[in-house]
Protein backbone atom coordinates (compact mmCIF):
# COMPACT_ATOMS: atom_id res chain seq x y z
CA UNK A 1 0.00 0.00 0.00
CA UNK A 2 2.80 2.38 0.98
CA UNK A 3 4.66 1.49 -2.21
CA UNK A 4 1.63 2.32 -4.32
CA UNK A 5 1.23 5.66 -2.53
CA UNK A 6 4.89 6.44 -3.12
CA UNK A 7 4.54 5.60 -6.79
CA UNK A 8 1.48 7.85 -7.06
CA UNK A 9 3.46 10.55 -5.31
CA UNK A 10 6.27 10.18 -7.79
CA UNK A 11 3.90 10.46 -10.74
CA UNK A 12 2.33 13.60 -9.24
CA UNK A 13 5.74 15.13 -8.62
CA UNK A 14 6.93 14.54 -12.16
CA UNK A 15 3.70 15.83 -13.69
CA UNK A 16 3.69 18.87 -11.41
CA UNK A 17 7.28 19.74 -12.20
CA UNK A 18 6.37 19.96 -15.87
CA UNK A 19 3.25 22.12 -15.49
CA UNK A 20 3.98 24.02 -12.28
CA UNK A 21 4.28 27.40 -13.97
CA UNK A 22 0.75 26.97 -15.37
CA UNK A 23 -0.96 25.12 -12.52
CA UNK A 24 -0.24 27.66 -9.75
CA UNK A 25 -1.81 30.69 -11.48
CA UNK A 26 -4.72 28.57 -12.72
CA UNK A 27 -5.50 27.36 -9.19
CA UNK A 28 -5.26 30.92 -7.90
CA UNK A 29 -7.48 32.12 -10.74
CA UNK A 30 -10.14 29.51 -9.95
CA UNK A 31 -10.06 30.33 -6.25
CA UNK A 32 -10.30 34.06 -6.99
CA UNK A 33 -13.24 33.39 -9.29
CA UNK A 34 -14.93 31.52 -6.45
CA UNK A 35 -14.30 34.39 -4.01
CA UNK A 36 -15.58 37.18 -6.27
CA UNK A 37 -18.57 35.11 -7.39
CA UNK A 38 -19.41 34.46 -3.73
CA UNK A 39 -19.29 38.19 -2.93
CA UNK A 40 -21.43 39.07 -5.94
CA UNK A 41 -23.90 36.36 -5.06
CA UNK A 42 -24.19 37.39 -1.41
CA UNK A 43 -24.13 41.19 -1.63
CA UNK A 44 -24.22 42.01 -5.33
CA UNK A 45 -25.99 45.37 -4.92
CA UNK A 46 -24.05 47.13 -7.67
CA UNK A 47 -24.81 45.48 -11.03
CA UNK A 48 -21.68 47.00 -12.62
CA UNK A 49 -19.43 44.75 -10.54
CA UNK A 50 -21.47 41.59 -10.96
CA UNK A 51 -20.67 41.41 -14.68
CA UNK A 52 -18.68 38.40 -15.77
CA UNK A 53 -16.01 40.54 -17.41
CA UNK A 54 -15.32 42.39 -14.15
CA UNK A 55 -15.17 39.15 -12.18
CA UNK A 56 -12.82 37.60 -14.74
CA UNK A 57 -10.59 40.69 -14.81
CA UNK A 58 -10.34 40.73 -11.00
CA UNK A 59 -9.60 37.00 -10.99
CA UNK A 60 -6.83 37.37 -13.57
CA UNK A 61 -5.23 40.19 -11.54
CA UNK A 62 -5.43 38.05 -8.41
CA UNK A 63 -3.94 35.04 -10.21
CA UNK A 64 -0.74 36.84 -11.16
CA UNK A 65 -0.24 38.88 -7.99
CA UNK A 66 0.43 37.90 -4.35
CA UNK A 67 -2.49 36.57 -2.32
CA UNK A 68 -2.66 39.78 -0.28
CA UNK A 69 -3.90 41.52 -3.44
CA UNK A 70 -6.78 39.03 -3.68
CA UNK A 71 -7.81 39.84 -0.10
CA UNK A 72 -7.55 43.58 -0.80
CA UNK A 73 -9.63 43.30 -3.99
CA UNK A 74 -12.24 41.21 -2.16
CA UNK A 75 -12.50 43.87 0.58
CA UNK A 76 -12.80 46.65 -1.98
CA UNK A 77 -15.49 44.75 -3.89
CA UNK A 78 -17.47 44.23 -0.67
CA UNK A 79 -17.20 47.94 0.15
CA UNK A 80 -18.27 48.97 -3.36
CA UNK A 81 -21.36 46.76 -3.18
CA UNK A 82 -22.29 48.05 0.26
CA UNK A 83 -21.64 51.62 -0.95
CA UNK A 84 -24.15 51.07 -3.74
CA UNK A 85 -26.73 50.05 -1.14
CA UNK A 86 -25.93 52.57 1.61
CA UNK A 87 -22.88 54.84 1.51
CA UNK A 88 -22.79 55.56 5.24
CA UNK A 89 -22.83 51.83 5.98
CA UNK A 90 -19.88 51.39 3.58
CA UNK A 91 -17.91 53.97 5.56
CA UNK A 92 -18.58 52.13 8.81
CA UNK A 93 -17.69 48.81 7.21
CA UNK A 94 -14.43 50.36 6.03
CA UNK A 95 -13.65 51.26 9.66
CA UNK A 96 -14.43 47.68 10.69
CA UNK A 97 -12.14 46.30 7.99
CA UNK A 98 -9.30 48.60 9.08
CA UNK A 99 -9.76 47.45 12.68
CA UNK A 100 -9.75 43.81 11.53
CA UNK A 101 -6.57 44.41 9.56
CA UNK A 102 -4.59 46.19 12.27
CA UNK A 103 -5.76 43.89 15.06
CA UNK A 104 -5.80 40.51 13.32
CA UNK A 105 -4.74 40.18 9.71
CA UNK A 106 -1.43 42.06 9.62
CA UNK A 107 0.32 39.64 11.97
CA UNK A 108 0.32 36.70 9.57
CA UNK A 109 0.49 38.10 6.03
CA UNK A 110 1.59 34.72 4.69
CA UNK A 111 -1.79 33.17 5.52
CA UNK A 112 -3.98 36.24 5.07
CA UNK A 113 -5.90 34.40 2.35
CA UNK A 114 -7.80 32.39 5.00
CA UNK A 115 -9.68 35.60 5.77
CA UNK A 116 -11.53 35.22 2.47
CA UNK A 117 -11.31 31.42 2.25
CA UNK A 118 -13.44 30.94 5.38
CA UNK A 119 -16.48 32.90 4.11
CA UNK A 120 -16.34 31.10 0.75
CA UNK A 121 -15.95 27.63 2.24
CA UNK A 122 -18.52 28.31 4.97
CA UNK A 123 -21.15 28.34 2.26
CA UNK A 124 -20.48 24.63 1.76
CA UNK A 125 -19.78 23.95 5.48
CA UNK A 126 -16.19 23.15 4.58
CA UNK A 127 -14.67 25.99 6.60
CA UNK A 128 -13.86 23.48 9.35
CA UNK A 129 -10.87 22.39 7.30
CA UNK A 130 -9.18 25.80 7.62
CA UNK A 131 -8.24 25.63 11.34
CA UNK A 132 -7.08 22.00 10.96
CA UNK A 133 -4.95 22.96 7.98
CA UNK A 134 -3.58 26.06 9.70
CA UNK A 135 -2.65 24.02 12.75
CA UNK A 136 -0.76 21.53 10.60
CA UNK A 137 1.12 23.92 8.31
CA UNK A 138 1.44 27.05 10.40
CA UNK A 139 1.79 28.21 14.01
CA UNK A 140 -0.77 29.49 16.52
CA UNK A 141 -0.27 33.00 15.10
CA UNK A 142 -2.58 31.89 12.27
CA UNK A 143 -5.41 32.02 14.82
CA UNK A 144 -5.59 35.76 14.11
CA UNK A 145 -6.38 35.68 10.36
CA UNK A 146 -8.65 32.67 10.95
CA UNK A 147 -10.85 34.50 13.44
CA UNK A 148 -10.68 37.51 11.12
CA UNK A 149 -12.18 35.32 8.39
CA UNK A 150 -14.92 34.13 10.76
CA UNK A 151 -15.72 37.76 11.62
CA UNK A 152 -15.93 38.74 7.92
CA UNK A 153 -18.23 35.80 7.16
CA UNK A 154 -20.66 36.62 9.97
CA UNK A 155 -20.60 40.38 9.32
CA UNK A 156 -21.41 39.79 5.64
CA UNK A 157 -24.14 37.35 6.59
CA UNK A 158 -25.71 39.88 8.95
CA UNK A 159 -25.27 42.96 6.79
CA UNK A 160 -26.65 41.61 3.52
CA UNK A 161 -30.28 41.58 4.60
CA UNK A 162 -30.60 45.14 6.07
CA UNK A 163 -28.38 46.62 3.33
CA UNK A 164 -30.60 45.09 0.65
CA UNK A 165 -33.72 46.41 2.37
CA UNK A 166 -32.77 50.06 2.79
CA UNK A 167 -31.37 52.25 0.02
CA UNK A 168 -30.11 55.88 0.40
CA UNK A 169 -31.56 56.70 3.79
CA UNK A 170 -31.58 59.85 5.87
CA UNK A 171 -28.90 60.15 8.57
CA UNK A 172 -31.18 59.25 11.51
CA UNK A 173 -32.46 56.21 9.63
CA UNK A 174 -28.93 55.19 8.84
CA UNK A 175 -27.98 55.33 12.52
CA UNK A 176 -31.01 53.21 13.31
CA UNK A 177 -30.01 50.73 10.61
CA UNK A 178 -26.47 50.69 11.89
CA UNK A 179 -27.65 50.10 15.46
CA UNK A 180 -29.78 47.20 14.25
CA UNK A 181 -26.78 45.63 12.50
CA UNK A 182 -24.55 46.14 15.55
CA UNK A 183 -27.22 44.60 17.80
CA UNK A 184 -27.28 41.53 15.58
CA UNK A 185 -23.49 41.28 15.56
CA UNK A 186 -23.31 41.64 19.35
CA UNK A 187 -26.00 39.00 19.80
CA UNK A 188 -24.32 36.58 17.39
CA UNK A 189 -23.05 33.91 19.75
CA UNK A 190 -22.33 31.63 16.83
CA UNK A 191 -19.54 33.95 15.67
CA UNK A 192 -17.84 34.08 19.06
CA UNK A 193 -18.15 30.32 19.56
CA UNK A 194 -16.77 29.60 16.09
CA UNK A 195 -13.80 31.86 16.82
CA UNK A 196 -13.08 30.16 20.14
CA UNK A 197 -13.47 26.61 18.75
CA UNK A 198 -11.29 27.37 15.72
CA UNK A 199 -8.61 28.90 17.97
CA UNK A 200 -8.62 25.76 20.15
CA UNK A 201 -8.50 23.48 17.08
CA UNK A 202 -5.48 25.31 15.66
CA UNK A 203 -3.67 25.15 19.00
CA UNK A 204 -4.43 21.44 19.54
CA UNK A 205 -3.39 20.41 16.01
CA UNK A 206 -0.21 22.48 16.19
CA UNK A 207 0.66 21.18 19.66
CA UNK A 208 0.22 17.47 18.80
CA UNK A 209 1.98 17.86 15.44
CA UNK A 210 5.07 19.12 17.28
CA UNK A 211 5.56 15.78 19.04
CA UNK A 212 7.95 13.29 17.52
CA UNK A 213 6.02 10.07 18.15
CA UNK A 214 4.82 7.91 15.26
CA UNK A 215 1.80 9.14 13.32
CA UNK A 216 1.83 12.47 15.22
CA UNK A 217 0.63 14.26 12.12
CA UNK A 218 -2.33 11.92 11.49
CA UNK A 219 -3.23 11.96 15.20
CA UNK A 220 -3.11 15.75 15.24
CA UNK A 221 -5.58 15.90 12.33
CA UNK A 222 -7.85 13.39 14.09
CA UNK A 223 -7.65 15.37 17.32
CA UNK A 224 -8.47 18.54 15.41
CA UNK A 225 -11.60 16.93 13.97
CA UNK A 226 -12.64 15.64 17.41
CA UNK A 227 -12.08 19.00 19.11
CA UNK A 228 -14.04 20.71 16.36
CA UNK A 229 -17.01 18.37 16.76
CA UNK A 230 -16.92 18.41 20.57
CA UNK A 231 -16.46 22.17 20.71
CA UNK A 232 -19.55 22.88 18.65
CA UNK A 233 -21.56 20.19 20.46
CA UNK A 234 -20.70 21.68 23.86
CA UNK A 235 -21.60 25.12 22.52
CA UNK A 236 -24.88 23.69 21.28
CA UNK A 237 -25.70 22.28 24.72
CA UNK A 238 -24.41 25.10 26.90
CA UNK A 239 -24.92 28.30 24.96
CA UNK A 240 -28.08 27.48 23.08
CA UNK A 241 -26.52 27.77 19.67
CA UNK A 242 -28.19 25.87 16.88
CA UNK A 243 -25.85 23.33 15.34
CA UNK A 244 -26.86 20.70 12.80
CA UNK A 245 -25.10 17.78 14.46
CA UNK A 246 -25.15 15.40 11.48
CA UNK A 247 -23.81 18.04 9.12
CA UNK A 248 -21.22 19.09 11.68
CA UNK A 249 -19.85 15.57 12.13
CA UNK A 250 -19.86 14.67 8.42
CA UNK A 251 -18.37 17.96 7.27
CA UNK A 252 -15.77 17.92 10.06
CA UNK A 253 -14.58 14.49 8.97
CA UNK A 254 -14.56 15.53 5.30
CA UNK A 255 -12.69 18.70 6.28
CA UNK A 256 -10.13 16.59 8.15
CA UNK A 257 -9.56 14.48 5.03
CA UNK A 258 -9.30 17.62 2.85
CA UNK A 259 -6.86 19.22 5.30
CA UNK A 260 -4.75 16.06 5.28
CA UNK A 261 -4.69 15.94 1.47
CA UNK A 262 -3.91 19.67 1.21
CA UNK A 263 -1.12 19.37 3.73
CA UNK A 264 0.32 16.30 1.96
CA UNK A 265 0.18 18.04 -1.42
CA UNK A 266 1.72 21.19 0.01
CA UNK A 267 4.65 19.26 1.42
CA UNK A 268 5.12 17.29 -1.77
CA UNK A 269 4.72 20.22 -4.16
CA UNK A 270 6.86 22.64 -2.15
CA UNK A 271 9.58 20.04 -2.32
CA UNK A 272 9.50 19.93 -6.10
CA UNK A 273 9.71 23.67 -6.68
CA UNK A 274 11.82 24.31 -9.76
CA UNK A 275 13.89 27.44 -9.29
CA UNK A 276 15.17 29.74 -12.01
CA UNK A 277 17.96 32.04 -10.86
CA UNK A 278 20.47 34.36 -12.47
CA UNK A 279 23.89 35.35 -11.20
CA UNK A 280 27.32 36.12 -12.46
CA UNK A 281 30.99 35.86 -11.60
CA UNK A 282 34.05 37.43 -13.17
CA UNK A 283 33.91 35.23 -16.26
CA UNK A 284 30.31 34.21 -16.93
CA UNK A 285 26.65 35.10 -16.61
CA UNK A 286 24.71 32.10 -15.31
CA UNK A 287 21.05 31.42 -16.03
CA UNK A 288 20.33 28.36 -13.92
CA UNK A 289 17.23 26.22 -13.78
CA UNK A 290 17.55 24.17 -10.59
CA UNK A 291 15.36 21.07 -10.66
CA UNK A 292 15.22 19.16 -7.36
CA UNK A 293 15.81 15.44 -7.70
CA UNK A 294 12.65 13.41 -7.33
CA UNK A 295 13.00 10.26 -5.26
CA UNK A 296 12.50 7.19 -7.37
CA UNK A 297 10.54 4.72 -5.29
CA UNK A 298 10.70 1.23 -6.67
CA UNK A 299 8.66 -1.58 -5.22
CA UNK A 300 10.56 -2.43 -2.07
CA UNK A 301 10.51 -5.79 -0.35
CA UNK A 302 10.17 -5.96 3.41
CA UNK A 303 11.70 -9.08 4.99
CA UNK A 304 10.66 -9.84 8.53
CA UNK A 305 12.28 -12.54 10.70
CA UNK A 306 10.29 -13.85 13.63
CA UNK A 307 12.18 -15.71 16.32
CA UNK A 308 9.92 -17.69 18.56
CA UNK A 309 12.77 -18.74 20.85
CA UNK A 310 13.44 -15.27 22.10
CA UNK A 311 9.76 -14.83 22.87
CA UNK A 312 8.73 -18.01 24.64
CA UNK A 313 12.01 -19.92 25.12
CA UNK A 314 11.09 -22.80 22.76
CA UNK A 315 12.88 -24.06 19.68
CA UNK A 316 13.94 -21.69 16.95
CA UNK A 317 11.53 -21.23 14.13
CA UNK A 318 11.79 -18.81 11.25
CA UNK A 319 9.27 -17.44 8.89
CA UNK A 320 10.12 -15.38 5.92
CA UNK A 321 7.45 -12.99 4.69
CA UNK A 322 7.44 -11.00 1.53
CA UNK A 323 4.92 -8.60 0.10
CA UNK A 324 5.55 -9.98 -3.35
CA UNK A 325 4.13 -13.49 -3.71
CA UNK A 326 6.34 -14.26 -6.72
CA UNK A 327 9.49 -13.49 -4.80
CA UNK A 328 12.04 -16.28 -4.54
CA UNK A 329 15.21 -15.93 -2.48
CA UNK A 330 18.46 -16.25 -4.42
CA UNK A 331 19.99 -18.63 -1.87
CA UNK A 332 18.18 -21.68 -0.50
CA UNK A 333 16.88 -21.34 3.00
CA UNK A 334 19.65 -22.34 5.43
CA UNK A 335 18.18 -22.98 8.84
CA UNK A 336 21.47 -23.68 10.62
CA UNK A 337 23.06 -20.48 9.38
CA UNK A 338 20.05 -18.51 10.43
CA UNK A 339 20.17 -20.09 13.91
CA UNK A 340 23.80 -19.15 14.33
CA UNK A 341 23.14 -15.60 13.27
CA UNK A 342 20.24 -15.39 15.59
CA UNK A 343 22.22 -16.65 18.57
CA UNK A 344 24.72 -13.90 17.97
CA UNK A 345 21.97 -11.35 18.48
CA UNK A 346 19.25 -13.07 20.48
CA UNK A 347 17.70 -9.87 21.81
CA UNK A 348 16.46 -8.85 18.37
CA UNK A 349 13.27 -10.73 17.72
CA UNK A 350 11.94 -8.68 14.82
CA UNK A 351 13.95 -7.04 12.11
CA UNK A 352 12.50 -4.80 9.50
CA UNK A 353 14.52 -3.42 6.67
CA UNK A 354 13.55 -0.16 5.06
CA UNK A 355 15.34 1.92 2.45
CA UNK A 356 17.08 5.01 3.79
CA UNK A 357 15.47 8.33 2.77
CA UNK A 358 17.21 10.03 -0.10
CA UNK A 359 18.23 13.65 0.20
CA UNK A 360 17.67 16.39 -2.30
CA UNK A 361 20.49 18.86 -2.84
CA UNK A 362 18.02 21.76 -2.51
CA UNK A 363 16.00 20.47 0.40
CA UNK A 364 17.65 22.82 2.86
CA UNK A 365 16.49 25.85 0.99
CA UNK A 366 13.24 24.75 -0.51
CA UNK A 367 11.54 23.15 2.42
CA UNK A 368 12.66 23.89 5.93
CA UNK A 369 9.59 23.84 8.12
CA UNK A 370 8.80 20.15 8.21
CA UNK A 371 9.27 18.98 11.79
CA UNK A 372 8.55 15.35 10.85
CA UNK A 373 11.41 15.08 8.44
CA UNK A 374 14.17 13.19 10.15
CA UNK A 375 16.78 14.58 7.83
CA UNK A 376 15.76 18.09 8.70
CA UNK A 377 15.99 17.38 12.40
CA UNK A 378 19.60 16.55 11.73
CA UNK A 379 19.97 19.77 9.83
CA UNK A 380 18.57 21.73 12.75
CA UNK A 381 21.19 20.20 15.00
CA UNK A 382 23.81 21.09 12.44
CA UNK A 383 22.40 24.58 12.33
CA UNK A 384 22.85 25.15 16.02
CA UNK A 385 26.48 24.07 15.83
CA UNK A 386 27.19 26.03 12.70
CA UNK A 387 25.53 29.07 14.14
CA UNK A 388 28.15 29.45 16.83
CA UNK A 389 30.88 28.78 14.31
CA UNK A 390 29.47 31.38 11.95
CA UNK A 391 29.28 34.03 14.61
CA UNK A 392 32.98 33.71 15.17
CA UNK A 393 34.07 33.59 11.58
CA UNK A 394 31.95 36.32 10.12
CA UNK A 395 33.10 39.78 11.18
CA UNK A 396 29.72 41.46 11.21
CA UNK A 397 28.16 38.60 13.09
CA UNK A 398 30.95 38.52 15.60
CA UNK A 399 30.51 42.17 16.40
CA UNK A 400 26.78 41.70 16.54
CA UNK A 401 27.12 38.73 18.87
CA UNK A 402 29.39 40.59 21.24
CA UNK A 403 27.02 43.51 21.58
CA UNK A 404 24.15 41.17 22.35
Amino acid sequence: MITILLEIREVILKAYQKVRMIVNPVVKFLFSLLVFSYINQEIGFDPRFTKLTVVLALSVISAITPTAVLVLLAMVLILLHIYAACNFLALLLLLVFIVLYVALLRFDPKHIVVAVAIPVLAKYNLHYCIPILMGSISSPISILPTIGGVAIYHILDIIKEPAAREVQLQLDEVVELYTEICDKIMADKQMLITMVVFAIVITVVWFIRKFSFDYAFEISIGAGVMVNILGFLIADLKYDVTVAVGTLIIMSVISGVIAMLCDYMKRVLDYTAVERVQFEDDDYYYYVKAVPKVNISLREMDVKHFNRHSIDGEDYEYEEETEDEDYEPEEPFDRRRMEEEDEAAPEEDVKEYKPAPKRSPFKLLVKRDDPKDEVKEEDKKEDSDEYEEEMILDDDFEEDNDKK
Binding site: V99, V102, A103, V277, D394, D400
Partner: protein, 138 residues
Protein backbone atom coordinates in the same frame (compact mmCIF):
# COMPACT_ATOMS: atom_id res chain seq x y z
CA UNK B 1 36.25 26.28 -17.60
CA UNK B 2 33.09 25.92 -15.55
CA UNK B 3 33.51 24.98 -11.92
CA UNK B 4 30.53 22.78 -11.04
CA UNK B 5 31.00 23.07 -7.31
CA UNK B 6 31.06 26.83 -7.54
CA UNK B 7 27.92 26.91 -9.69
CA UNK B 8 26.13 24.63 -7.25
CA UNK B 9 27.03 26.89 -4.35
CA UNK B 10 26.14 30.04 -6.22
CA UNK B 11 22.80 28.51 -7.22
CA UNK B 12 21.98 27.66 -3.62
CA UNK B 13 22.97 31.16 -2.55
CA UNK B 14 20.85 32.72 -5.30
CA UNK B 15 17.82 30.59 -4.39
CA UNK B 16 18.16 31.61 -0.75
CA UNK B 17 18.53 35.29 -1.67
CA UNK B 18 15.45 35.02 -3.85
CA UNK B 19 13.29 33.41 -1.15
CA UNK B 20 13.90 33.62 2.62
CA UNK B 21 17.07 35.64 2.16
CA UNK B 22 15.22 38.76 1.10
CA UNK B 23 13.51 39.01 4.49
CA UNK B 24 16.44 37.60 6.48
CA UNK B 25 18.93 40.09 5.09
CA UNK B 26 16.59 42.94 6.03
CA UNK B 27 16.40 41.60 9.57
CA UNK B 28 20.18 41.28 9.70
CA UNK B 29 20.48 45.07 9.74
CA UNK B 30 19.04 45.14 13.26
CA UNK B 31 20.12 43.74 16.60
CA UNK B 32 17.65 41.27 18.04
CA UNK B 33 16.40 43.60 20.78
CA UNK B 34 16.12 46.56 18.42
CA UNK B 35 14.18 44.58 15.86
CA UNK B 36 11.73 43.10 18.38
CA UNK B 37 11.17 46.47 20.06
CA UNK B 38 10.72 48.25 16.72
CA UNK B 39 8.10 45.75 15.60
CA UNK B 40 6.39 45.86 19.00
CA UNK B 41 6.12 49.66 18.81
CA UNK B 42 4.74 49.40 15.28
CA UNK B 43 2.16 46.97 16.66
CA UNK B 44 1.36 49.39 19.48
CA UNK B 45 0.74 52.22 17.00
CA UNK B 46 -1.46 49.98 14.83
CA UNK B 47 -3.43 48.80 17.86
CA UNK B 48 -3.90 52.39 19.04
CA UNK B 49 -5.29 53.40 15.64
CA UNK B 50 -7.50 50.30 15.59
CA UNK B 51 -8.78 51.02 19.11
CA UNK B 52 -9.62 54.63 18.24
CA UNK B 53 -11.55 53.47 15.16
CA UNK B 54 -13.31 50.84 17.25
CA UNK B 55 -14.29 53.54 19.74
CA UNK B 56 -15.68 55.61 16.86
CA UNK B 57 -17.72 52.62 15.65
CA UNK B 58 -18.94 51.98 19.21
CA UNK B 59 -19.77 55.68 19.72
CA UNK B 60 -21.98 55.69 16.60
CA UNK B 61 -23.62 52.49 17.81
CA UNK B 62 -24.41 54.10 21.16
CA UNK B 63 -25.04 57.57 19.68
CA UNK B 64 -28.64 57.74 20.78
CA UNK B 65 -27.76 56.80 24.37
CA UNK B 66 -24.88 59.27 24.43
CA UNK B 67 -27.08 62.15 23.25
CA UNK B 68 -29.93 61.31 25.61
CA UNK B 69 -27.62 61.00 28.63
CA UNK B 70 -25.04 63.61 27.68
CA UNK B 71 -25.39 65.44 31.00
CA UNK B 72 -25.64 62.45 33.33
CA UNK B 73 -22.82 60.25 32.02
CA UNK B 74 -19.93 59.84 34.47
CA UNK B 75 -17.21 60.88 32.04
CA UNK B 76 -14.21 60.22 34.34
CA UNK B 77 -15.44 56.70 35.05
CA UNK B 78 -16.10 56.11 31.36
CA UNK B 79 -12.65 57.46 30.49
CA UNK B 80 -11.00 55.19 33.09
CA UNK B 81 -12.86 52.18 31.70
CA UNK B 82 -11.88 52.97 28.11
CA UNK B 83 -8.27 53.63 29.15
CA UNK B 84 -8.14 50.42 31.23
CA UNK B 85 -9.35 48.28 28.36
CA UNK B 86 -6.88 50.01 26.06
CA UNK B 87 -3.94 49.36 28.40
CA UNK B 88 -4.84 45.68 28.77
CA UNK B 89 -5.18 45.17 24.99
CA UNK B 90 -2.00 47.12 24.33
CA UNK B 91 -0.03 45.14 26.92
CA UNK B 92 -1.18 41.80 25.49
CA UNK B 93 -0.31 42.79 21.93
CA UNK B 94 2.97 44.44 22.90
CA UNK B 95 4.28 41.45 24.86
CA UNK B 96 3.06 38.96 22.22
CA UNK B 97 4.72 41.02 19.48
CA UNK B 98 8.00 41.13 21.42
CA UNK B 99 7.97 37.34 21.82
CA UNK B 100 6.89 36.51 18.27
CA UNK B 101 9.31 38.87 16.56
CA UNK B 102 12.17 37.66 18.77
CA UNK B 103 11.45 34.08 17.66
CA UNK B 104 11.24 35.20 14.05
CA UNK B 105 14.59 36.95 14.37
CA UNK B 106 16.21 33.87 15.94
CA UNK B 107 15.03 31.61 13.11
CA UNK B 108 16.30 34.05 10.50
CA UNK B 109 19.75 34.09 12.15
CA UNK B 110 19.97 30.33 11.79
CA UNK B 111 19.25 30.55 8.07
CA UNK B 112 21.73 33.41 7.74
CA UNK B 113 24.42 31.35 9.47
CA UNK B 114 24.02 28.69 6.79
CA UNK B 115 24.10 31.38 4.12
CA UNK B 116 27.39 32.78 5.44
CA UNK B 117 28.85 29.30 5.64
CA UNK B 118 28.13 28.83 1.95
CA UNK B 119 29.58 32.26 1.20
CA UNK B 120 32.74 31.29 3.03
CA UNK B 121 33.00 28.10 0.97
CA UNK B 122 32.55 30.14 -2.19
CA UNK B 123 35.22 32.55 -1.05
CA UNK B 124 37.53 29.60 -0.50
CA UNK B 125 36.91 28.39 -4.06
CA UNK B 126 37.90 31.82 -5.34
CA UNK B 127 41.06 31.77 -3.23
CA UNK B 128 41.93 28.33 -4.62
CA UNK B 129 41.30 29.54 -8.17
CA UNK B 130 43.57 32.55 -7.56
CA UNK B 131 46.25 30.30 -6.11
CA UNK B 132 46.23 32.03 -2.72
CA UNK B 133 45.49 28.80 -0.85
CA UNK B 134 45.70 25.12 -1.72
CA UNK B 135 42.55 23.07 -2.09
CA UNK B 136 43.28 20.76 0.84
CA UNK B 137 43.54 23.75 3.23
CA UNK B 138 39.79 23.84 3.57
Amino acid sequence: MLNERKIRLMTQLAIYEKKDGREDLKLARYYKGDYARFQAWKTAVAITIGYILLLAVAAIYKLEYLIDNAFVIDYPALGRKILGIYIVILAVYFISALLCYSLKYASSRKRLARYFRMLRKLNHIYLVEDGVVKEEDE
